[in-house]
């Protein structure tokens, strides 16, 4: 293949892979929809245990939210550096994104541990089972995103900006932005609406 044909081929592969990954993200939306539906149906079923109004610490959750939102932004900056093929900048921004992602995860694990400690674990009530399943599934996605980012940083260091590495980095950024989109709804529906008096 000559150079032009190669570029065209890479573009086609990129467009197809991008769409395929988008379809996966859409199925993930449906997974989260079913968990949101379960949570919404069970949020009042506290079995005389604590409700969201007494459990949720909004300033803490706001901090979690802003950390994740900032990581979504720095992930975008990493992609801009990738497009410019600026290796040091790309690696730095992905590293910042990872640190923020890890901080979010640490805050969430700490929150879960606190809830379990005060007797508000997932086995306490239907409300808490649904809460831990929904928020925990999001947290699990964050873990997957961080593992993926670690692998991509390694590939970026080893191979540089090959077409494959750039393609996977752009998919990773879609995944990471998507997790922030899901978090908007967890923050709004679970936490903000969870503390309102009914």
């Amino acid at each position: 293949m000559n150079n032009e044909a190669l570029i065209l081929h890479e573009q086609t592969v990129h467009t197809k892979t991008n769409f395929g990954f988008w379809l996966y993200v859409m199925t993930d939306c449906i997974l989260f929809a079913s968990l949101f539906a379960t949570y919404a149906a069970l949020r009042g079923n506290t079995a005389d245990g604590p409700s969201g109004q007494t459990l949720f610490d909004l300033p803490y959750v706001l901090a979690e939210t802003l950390v994740l939102l900032t990581s979504s932004f720095t992930c975008g900056l990493a992609i801009l550096a990738t497009n410019r093929q600026h290796k040091t900048q790309a690696i730095s921004w992905f590293a910042v994104t990872m640190v923020l992602g890890l901080s979010f995860l640490a805050l969430e694990v700490n929150e879960f541990a606190h809830l379990a400690q005060i007797g508000a674990g997932w086995q306490r009530s239907g409300f808490l089972s649904a809460y831990f399943t929904l928020v925990g599934t999001h947290g699990l996605h964050i873990v997957v995103g961080l593992v993926w980012m670690t692998i991509m940083l390694y590939q970026l260091l080893q191979r540089g900006f090959t077409a494959g590495v750039r393609r996977r980095l752009s998919l990773l950024s879609i995944f990471w932005h998507f997790l922030d989109v899901i978090w908007i709804f967890i923050f709004s529906i679970v936490y903000l609406l969870g503390v309102l008096p009914s």
Binding site: E4, I7, L8, E10, Q11, H14, T15, K16, N18, F19, W22, L23, M26, T27, C29, I30, A33, S34, F36, A37, T38, A40, A41, L58, L62, T65, L66, L69, T70, S72, F73, G76, L77, I79, L80, N83, Q85, A163, R166, R167, S170, I174, H177, F178, D180, V181, I184, F185, F187, S188, I189, L192, L193, V195, L196, P197, S198
Partner: protein
């Protein structure tokens, strides 16, 4: 082919943003997050109105991130991505709306005495 031959970085213009796009998306998201947070923590309105405010702000932030971070509507496969998104959203609404509707009706038609009577008829009882 002439369009392609001018591009030295083939993947660059494909559904990727610019600094100003990411920056404005980030600032808008922070403002929307803080607005929803402050509306709830300062109790600016009754519960019913607050639910509407939070839902509206979440929807706006969803659209902001969709355009500014996920660049929906750009790239060669933009149309199919929007179609996939719309069909996924319709499934989301049916799953969430349908579940809530069913559970609401279940609660509406089942008073505690109904449950008691039902369990007694089954030979159980509370």
């Amino acid at each position: 082919m002439s369009r392609v031959s001018h591009t030295s970085k083939p993947l660059e213009q494909h559904s990727s943003g610019t600094l100003s796009l990411y920056l404005s998306g980030f600032i808008m998201s922070v403002v929307l997050t803080l607005a929803a947070y402050l509306a709830v923590t300062t109790h600016v309105a009754s519960t019913g109105v607050l639910i509407a405010i939070v839902a509206m702000l979440a929807t706006v932030q969803f659209l902001v991130q969709l355009f500014y971070f996920l660049h929906i509507g750009s790239g060669r496969n933009a149309r199919w991505k929007i179609i996939a998104l719309l069909s996924a959203l319709s499934v989301v609404f049916i799953v969430v709306g349908g579940s809530l509707w069913i559970m609401y009706n279940l609660n509406y038609h089942m008073t505690p005495s109904d449950i008691h009577k039902y369990l007694n008829e089954q030979g159980g009882g509370i």
